[in-house]
């Protein structure tokens, strides 16, 4: 037992010597990440905003062992990217009206028509809904035939009108909706012509189509190979349509798909589906982990860091000892420590079993709610700088803190003194643990230095 405990002490102490992430680790990792994002076609501004924001948060993170600081930083970016791209919105609207209306919009060649067929197939096969496709691309030669042919092949009904004078997309969409209502379809999927976001007339038109059918969900279809321009087009479409989500097509290729992040950022809408092939079955639900991984392309690094993190998780309990034993104790650590002690009976037990540590476990017993709350209040009244650098606590600061916590200055002084004592004690203990002494000697030393710090409001024996 003791041996085991000592081993784990040793481990965390080793790890602790890594300390916190250094600024240059963060900078280096950030540079790598930014390069990766740009190579993946994420928009310059989007990439910069993202890396800046995350970097700020990383500066105070603890250093992992077994990987370089920069690697750890990269992996953290990966996790943040996953979190950013993940959404709990269902890919299809949860409470649509009847019939449910879906509208597909996007640039030329993005994959709208193919996606219309894919969605239709999915709704019929998986959700058993009767689907009508509306052919509202009257622009591109053969577009109506394309949708009709897809419908025939899949056994989906298509509302199509021969392009000609007097037939416009808004009219076709409106009549398709009427038909869907009359003939009791469950869903209407409206395919539209590809259009450039700078073409005002066509952007007006798509807005009118949307107004005519009031979609339950409008999807922006985006080619995964798109470059920086994704920001421009996505922003323009989002300004004209109340977008529900994005569909990212041609993910079966080798494009990194950074445009998805750009579009997601400027529209504030999540990605719902991925197109992964030309066939109607080739539609998948969006998977943030996979797409973020593809954009950053740091697979090896992420795996490595994950392993280091797993090792860390295994040492979860040990992590708490580490803080107790480190000479670098701060008020924040003290606060965390006692909060943790309060939660963890296990620590109590472990310490109780350790000969010579009886006093310590006695101390733990004393961390009762009332006293704990008072101590917590004092630390909480400190500014972050004071918590991390308690040495700056001069008389004026102590008065302010006492006032804030609703205690006497004497209480603050007591806490400070205990803190200093505890710090010294912990340092001594750490030295013993790391000094390569024999088990016997260690126990003797432990006993000798058994004096435990006084905490405010605790009898000092």
């Amino acid at each position: 037992m003791l041996e085991q405990l000592q081993k784990s002490f040793q481990k965390v102490i080793d790890r602790f010597q890594g300390g916190r992430l250094r600024e240059e680790d963060v900078r280096e990792g950030m540079r790598e990440v930014r390069r990766a994002l740009l190579a993946a076609d994420v928009h310059v501004t989007v990439a910069k905003e993202f890396t800046d924001k995350v970097a700020a948060r990383l500066l105070s993170a603890e250093r992992l062992q077994g990987v370089s600081g920069a690697q750890q930083v990269m992996a953290a970016f990966h996790q943040e990217l996953v979190a950013l791209m993940r959404s709990d919105q269902a890919p299809l609207p949860k409470h649509p009206r009847h019939p449910m209306v879906l509208l597909l919009a996007g640039l030329q060649g993005a994959g709208k028509t193919t996606t219309a067929a894919k969605l239709g197939l999915r709704l019929e096969r998986r959700e058993n809904r009767k689907v009508l496709l509306a052919a509202c691309d009257l622009q591109r030669p053969g577009a109506v035939d394309q949708l009709r042919a897809l419908g025939d092949r899949l056994g989906l009904d298509v509302h199509a009108e021969e392009p000609g004078p007097g037939v416009d997309p808004v009219g076709v969409a409106r009549r398709a909706l009427e038909r869907a209502r009359d003939q009791r379809y469950d869903a209407l999927i409206v395919d539209s012509a590809g259009r450039l976001h700078v073409d005002d007339a066509l952007m007006d038109e798509i807005q009118e189509v949307a107004a005519a059918v009031t979609p339950d969900a409008s999807y922006l279809v985006l080619d995964a190979m798109t470059g920086q321009d994704a920001v421009e087009s996505a922003r323009a479409f989002a300004a004209r349509l109340d977008l529900y989500a994005l569909v990212l097509t041609k993910m079966d290729g080798d494009a990194r798909g950074g445009a998805a992040l750009s579009a997601l950022q400027v529209t504030g809408r999540p990605i719902a589906f991925l197109g992964v092939g030309e066939k109607p079955e080739d539609l998948e639900e969006f998977d943030a982990e996979r797409v973020a991984g593809r954009i950053l392309d740091l697979g090896d690094v992420v795996g490595l860091v994950e392993k280091a993190q797993e090792a860390l998780a295994e040492e979860e309990a040990a992590l708490d000892y580490e803080k107790m034993l480190s000479g670098r104790l701060t008020m924040q650590d003290l606060l965390d420590q006692f909060r943790m002690m309060k939660r963890m009976g296990s620590v109590k037990k472990v310490f109780g079993m350790l000969p010579g540590m009886g006093r310590m476990s006695g101390l733990l017993e004393q961390v009762d709610d009332h006293r704990f709350r008072r101590m917590e209040a004092i630390i909480l009244s400190m500014t972050p700088a004071e918590r991390l650098h308690p040495e700056i606590l001069d008389a004026r600061r102590r008065r302010r803190i006492a006032r804030g916590a609703g205690v006497d200055v004497a209480d603050v002084n007591r806490l400070y003194k205990s803190f200093q004592e505890m710090k010294r004690q912990m340092k001594a203990m750490r030295k013993m643990m790391t000094g390569g002494r024999s088990k016997k000697r260690l126990l003797r030393d432990l006993k000798r230095s058994g004096q435990l710090p006084n905490l405010p409001g605790y009898p000092s024996n």
Partner: protein
């Protein structure tokens, strides 16, 4: 020229960079000038190549070849123009020694191949050449109908196969027909395919091979259609298509939007593929012969700049 429209903004870019310089004031501005240029290059999809270009720019300044950062934009414009070639002598698709001259049009899904075929046909006709078209996309729904509409509009015959037929067979028949009719040019449309799909790339190789068996030296021209809105994947596309078929030039489509097509620079710089045409709209007439200088100028022009008041 539609480039005129794009070029329109150029004066303003120079102003913008000049403005940035002025704001920075004098000689300490190199770094910020480079930063401005870096942002312009990246937003134009020039990608990692930007780094190299900027390093070169810095070296020019250091060596004294450029006296002042103010000269950077003009230098960069020339450098960009040098990265990607246009058609030799400004004349794309020169006729082969013997008729028919065969042009094969390839590219990834949705890049604009079929529309570009239509534009090419129209352009060739404008050069006084007679054209036959092969509907080589037997895969995508109604691809043949789409091309059929264009051929009707342009008034050229089209050879087609059944849906799902072997595109090599269509190419074979079309080559036969072109010889029999004695047309000047045969233009072959193909199905969109991602360069990562081995079997489809093999299919393309076969089409090319069959054309060569029917007509000596065919395909004389292989045009890779690249979408200007595409980012860094364009280079990957070009590499892989070049491995399968002898790509002789690129057709850069959708330049009528806000995308600058900067990824083409890496294609030119690394693979030496010239750009022959650009597409600037969805109509038959919306084609222009590529001009590197104008392309470079447009690339450095700001997008979405509000009209000057």
């Amino acid at each position: 020229m539609v480039f005129a429209r794009l070029r329109h903004g150029l004066g303003r870019t120079r102003n913008r960079i000049a403005h940035a310089l002025r704001r920075l004031g004098g000689d300490q501005s190199t770094e910020e000038t480079l930063e401005t240029l870096e942002e312009i290059l990246y937003t134009a999809d020039v990608g990692p190549l930007s780094e190299r270009l900027l390093e070169e720019a810095e070296a020019e300044l250091k060596s004294g070849a450029l006296a002042h950062p103010r000269e950077l934009p003009a230098w960069l414009e020339q450098r960009l123009a040098a990265a990607v070639r246009g058609p030799e002598d400004g004349r794309p698709l020169p006729p082969a020694e013997h008729r028919p001259t065969v042009t094969l049009v390839v590219g990834v899904n949705g890049s604009g191949k079929t529309t570009s075929v239509a534009k090419l046909v129209h352009w060739l006709q404008g050069q006084g050449r007679s054209v036959l078209v092969a509907a080589g996309d037997t895969f995508r729904a109604a691809a043949v109908e789409q091309l059929g509409v264009w051929c009707e509009r342009a008034g050229v015959p089209m050879v087609r196969g059944a849906e799902g037929a072997d595109p090599a067979a269509v190419a074979h028949d079309a080559a036969q027909a072109a010889k029999a009719r004695g047309v000047d040019d045969l233009v072959v449309d193909t199905a969109g395919r991602l360069h990562t799909q081995k079997n489809l790339m093999a299919e393309l190789e076969k089409v090319s091979r069959i054309l060569g068996r029917q007509v000596e030296g065919a395909p004389h021209h292989v045009l890779l259609v690249l979408d200007a809105t595409t980012g860094q994947n364009a280079l990957q596309q070009a590499r892989r298509f070049l491995e399968s078929v002898p790509v002789t030039g690129a057709f850069l489509t959708k330049l009528d939007g806000t995308a600058k097509g900067g990824a083409t620079l890496a294609v030119g710089e690394e693979l030496g593929i010239p750009v022959l045409f650009v597409g600037v709209g969805e109509g038959l007439e919306d084609l222009e012969v590529f001009d590197p200088a104008e392309f470079a100028a447009a690339l450095l022009a700001p997008r979405n700049e509000p009209a000057e008041t």
